[in-house]
C-alpha cells in the first residue's frame, strides 16, 4: 500500500515538474526554432501561431552571422563593440562588487566600532529602495560629473559595495573563528591584510555566488546602459539588441532578432549550467538564513 502510494506520488510529482519544465522551456525552444527559419516562415509562425510551421525543416544557420553583422550601425563592428562593452563592464562590476562587498562585510563582521549595529541596519534599509527611485538623482549627479555616455556610472558604483552581498559576506565571515583573525594580527597584518590574506580566500563560496549573480544581472541589465550610454560605440549587448529590434523589429526580421537574442543570452545559459550549485546556494542563503 505504501509502496504504491510512493510510486504514485513520485510519478505525479515528476509529471508536474515535467509540465512546469515544458512551460518554462517553451519560449526558449520557440526562439531557437524561429531563429533557424526563413523570414516568411518565421513571420507566419509569429503572426498565425501555426506551430506546424515552427519546425525548421531546412535550418537557416546563416541567420546567426547575418543577425550579428547587422547589429549596430557598422557591419560586425556594432556587435563586436557591444560584446566588448558588455564583457568589460560585467567583468569590472563583478570584480568591484566582490572586492568592495567583502571588505565592507568583513568590517561589519570583525571590526568593533561605535555605531556598527545602527550602521548595519541603515545599510540593510537601503535594500528597500527601488532602483527607479534613485535613478533621476543619480543621473543628475553623473551628469554634473560629466560621466554621461561613459561606462563610469555603471562601473564606479560597484566599488561602493552592494548591500545584499555585504550582508551575505558579513554572515559568512562572522563564522570564521576569531582565533584565525587574531593569529593573522599577531603575524603582522592590519585589518586590510587580514581581509586580503585570510577572509577573502576563505570566502570563496560566497564570492562564487556573488560573481554568478552579479554577472547575470549586469550582463542582462538594460535600464542602466540605456540611461547612461547614448552613443552606438558605448552600447552594451542588451541596448544593441533593443536597437536591432527597433530598427528591424516588427515581424520582418523576427528570425534574425531571435538569433541575436539567443547569442546574447548564451553566456548566462552556459554560466548557469557551469555554476548551478552556486545559483541554488545563493538563492538559499538569501531566503533561508537571511
Amino acid at each position: 500500500m505504501n509502496g504504491r502510494r510512493s510510486i504514485l506520488s513520485r510519478v505525479s510529482s515528476h509529471a508536474m515538474l515535467a509540465i512546469g519544465a515544458c512551460v518554462m522551456l517553451a519560449p526558449l525552444v520557440w526562439m531557437a526554432c524561429v531563429s533557424l527559419l526563413t523570414p516568411d516562415r518565421a513571420q507566419a509562425a509569429t503572426v498565425s501561431g501555426d506551430l506546424a510551421r515552427l519546425i525548421p525543416t531546412d535550418p537557416q544557420w546563416h541567420n546567426y552571422p547575418d543577425a550579428l553583422a547587422q547589429m549596430g550601425s557598422r557591419r560586425w563592428d556594432g556587435f563586436l563593440d557591444a560584446l566588448a562593452n558588455s564583457v568589460v563592464i560585467t567583468s569590472l562590476v563583478v570584480v568591484a562588487t566582490i572586492l568592495s562587498s567583502s571588505l565592507v562585510g568583513f568590517a561589519f563582521a570583525r571590526v568593533r566600532f561605535r555605531g556598527r549595529g545602527a550602521l548595519f541596519v541603515v545599510m540593510l534599509a537601503t535594500m528597500m529602495l527601488p532602483g527607479q527611485v534613485t535613478l533621476i538623482p543619480l543621473f543628475l549627479l553623473f551628469r554634473s560629473l560629466g560621466w554621461i555616455d561613459t561606462m563610469l556610472p555603471l562601473v564606479v558604483p560597484a566599488f561602493f559595495a552592494n548591500a545584499f552581498f555585504v550582508f551575505m559576506y558579513r554572515q559568512f565571515i562572522a563564522q570564521i573563528p576569531e582565533s584565525l583573525v587574531e593569529a593573522a594580527a599577531i603575524d603582522g597584518h592590519g585589518w586590510l591584510g587580514i581581509w586580503w590574506n585570510i577572509a577573502l580566500p576563505l570566502c570563496r563560496p560566497v564570492s562564487a555566488i556573488c560573481a554568478v549573480f552579479t554577472f547575470v544581472y549586469v550582463w542582462n541589465d538594460f535600464m542602466g546602459p540605456l540611461v547612461y550610454l547614448q552613443s552606438d560605440e558605448q552600447a552594451t549587448l542588451a541596448v544593441a539588441l533593443n536597437s536591432f529590434r527597433n530598427q528591424y523589429g516588427g515581424v520582418n526580421k523576427v528570425n534574425l532578432l531571435m538569433a541575436a537574442s539567443l547569442v546574447t543570452m548564451l553566456p548566462c545559459i552556459v554560466l548557469f549550467f557551469a555554476a548551478q550549485k552556486q545559483f541554488i546556494e545563493g538563492l538559499g542563503r538569501g531566503a533561508v538564513k537571511g
Binding site: 587574531e182 594580527a185 599577531i186 576563505l202
Partner: protein, 384 residues
C-alpha cells in the same frame, strides 16, 4: 628573548554589570623563563595572556616587554608569537605557507610591484625568499614536519597540527612565546608526549615563554615558576615544588596536587604545653612553632594524600586514628583509598599492593610536621 613585567594589571569588562576579570596582577618574568599561569576555568589566566599578546585591552596597570611599555602597542608590533588552543592554522594554506606566513609579512623587500619594476629589487626578494624557506625547513626538521610541508591542515592529525602551530611560532623567532592551553585538545598520551617536546624546545631555544593551562599536573611538569590564579587574583607565585610544598592558602593547596589535599576544619588550642589541633575524631599535637602564625580559634589542617598513612605504616606516626575504608581505586603502581574518619571524608594514596577491603576499619596516621595549617576564615591563608 625578553623580560615581561606586569605591574598591577587589571581587566574590567564594561557592560550592564561591570566584570573585573583580572585584578592587580603583578608578575616579573625573567629572560628565558617558562612561567605557567594555572587556575580553574574563568580565573583570568587566558585574559592575562591575551593582554600580554595585545589581543585584549589593558584596563589598569602597566605592561612592559623588555622594559618598554606596550599597553597601547598593537599585537603585530610586540614581537610575540601566540599558540592557540585550537591551533588557528590557516585552512587555505599549506603547512609550509602557514609556517612562513609571519615571515612573509616581515620581509624587507615585500613589494611585488617593485619587484616587477626593478631587477635589483627582484634579486633581493629572491634572496629573502630562499632565507625564509630555509628557516621554515629547519624548523620543520626540528619538529618532524618535513613530510607534511605540502599538506593542508585538514589532512593532519591533532598532534601534527599542534606541531605546525608551534613551528609557525618558532619560525618567527619572536622575543616571547605565548601558549594558550595548546595541549587541551589532544588525548592524554599525546599530551604527555607534547609536554616533553615543549620542555625540550624551551631548553633548546632558551626563550621567554608564558604558558596557560588549567591542568595542574601539566603546570607542575612544565614551568620554571607557577602563577596560581583564582577569580582574577593571583594566589601564589613560585617554583612548582614550592607551590606544592608550601601552598599560600587553602585554594592553592587544594588546586595543586593530585589527588586533592585533605582539608579538615577544626580549632587550634594554645597552652603552655604547646599547640593542639582539635576536630571531631581527630586531635593532633602540633610541633612547637608549627602554628606560630596562627591565633587560637578556627583553623584548617591540610594533609596530602601521600602523607596520610594507612594500615601498618600508620602505627609509626605521631598521630594515629581509625577510619572506615570506602572505595579503593587501584591505578597500576598506586592506589587511592577513600576513608571515613568520624565526619571527615579523606583520601589516601598507598602502594597498589596494600591489602585493603571496602568496609573494613583500618588504622590511619599522620606526622603533624608534614601537615599544612591554614586560617579558618574565607581566605584560608597559610599560617604554618
Amino acid at each position: 628573548m625578553a623580560t615581561i613585567e606586569l605591574d598591577k594589571i587589571g581587566k574590567t569588562y564594561v557592560s550592564s554589570a561591570s566584570v573585573r576579570a583580572v585584578r592587580d596582577a603583578s608578575i616579573s618574568i625573567r629572560d628565558g623563563e617558562l612561567v605557567v599561569l594555572v587556575g580553574p576555568s574563568g580565573c583570568g589566566k587566558s585574559t592575562i595572556l591575551r593582554m600580554i599578546a595585545g589581543l585584549e585591552e589593558i584596563t589598569d596597570g602597566t605592561l612592559r616587554i623588555d622594559g618598554r611599555v606596550v599597553n597601547d602597542v598593537p599585537a603585530r608590533d610586540r614581537d610575540i608569537a601566540f599558540v592557540f588552543q585550537n591551533y588557528a592554522l590557516y585552512p587555505h594554506l599549506s603547512v609550509r605557507a602557514n609556517m612562513s606566513f609571519g615571515l612573509e609579512r616581515r620581509r624587507v623587500h615585500g613589494s611585488v610591484w617593485r619587484s616587477l619594476a626593478s631587477r635589483e629589487y627582484r634579486r633581493h626578494r629572491q634572496v629573502e625568499s630562499a632565507a625564509i624557506m630555509a628557516k621554515v625547513t629547519a624548523t620543520a626538521e626540528t619538529l618532524g614536519l618535513v613530510p607534511y610541508l605540502d599538506r593542508f591542515p585538514r589532512e593532519l592529525s591533532g598532534g601534527q597540527r599542534q606541531r605546525v602551530a608551534v613551528g609557525r611560532a618558532i619560525a618567527r623567532e619572536p622575543k616571547v612565546f605565548l601558549f594558550d592551553e595548546p595541549l587541551s585538545n589532544l588525548d592524554a598520551r599525546m599530551r604527555v608526549e607534547m609536554r616533553g617536546e615543549l620542555r625540550e624546545l624551551h631548553r633548546q631555544l632558551k626563550a621567554t615563554m608564558v604558558y596557560v593551562t588549567h591542568d595542574q599536573e601539566e603546570a607542575m611538569g612544565l614551568g620554571d615558576r607557577l602563577v596560581v590564579l583564582r577569580d582574577g587574583v593571583i594566589q601564589q607565585i613560585g617554583p612548582p615544588i614550592e607551590v606544592y610544598a608550601k601552598p599560600a592558602n587553602r585554594f592553592v593547596a587544594s588546586f595543586v596536587g593530585t589527588p586533592t589535599i585533605n582539608l579538615i576544619d577544626g580549632r587550634m588550642h594554645r597552652s603552655d604545653a604547646g599547640e593542639r589541633f582539635v576536630a571531631d575524631a581527630i586531635t593532633v599535637e602540633l610541633p612547637r612553632g608549627k602554628a606560630i602564625g596562627a591565633n587560637p580559634g578556627p583553623i584548617t589542617i591540610g594533609v596530602r594524600p601521600d602523607r596520610l598513612r594507612v594500615g601498618r605504616d600508620a602505627t609509626l606516626m605521631r598521630w594515629t586514628g581509625e577510619a572506615l575504608v570506602g572505595r579503593v581505586e587501584r591505578l597500576g603502581d598506586r592506589a587511592e583509598v577513600a576513608l571515613r574518619c568520624g565526619p571527615h571524608r579523606l583520601i589516601a594514596r598507598v602502594e597498589s599492593t596494600t591489602a585493603l577491603t571496602e568496609g573494613e576499619r583500618v588504622p590511619i596516621g599522620l606526622d603533624a610536621g608534614e601537615t599544612h595549617l591554614f586560617a579558618g576564615d574565607e581566605v584560608g591563608a597559610r599560617v604554618g
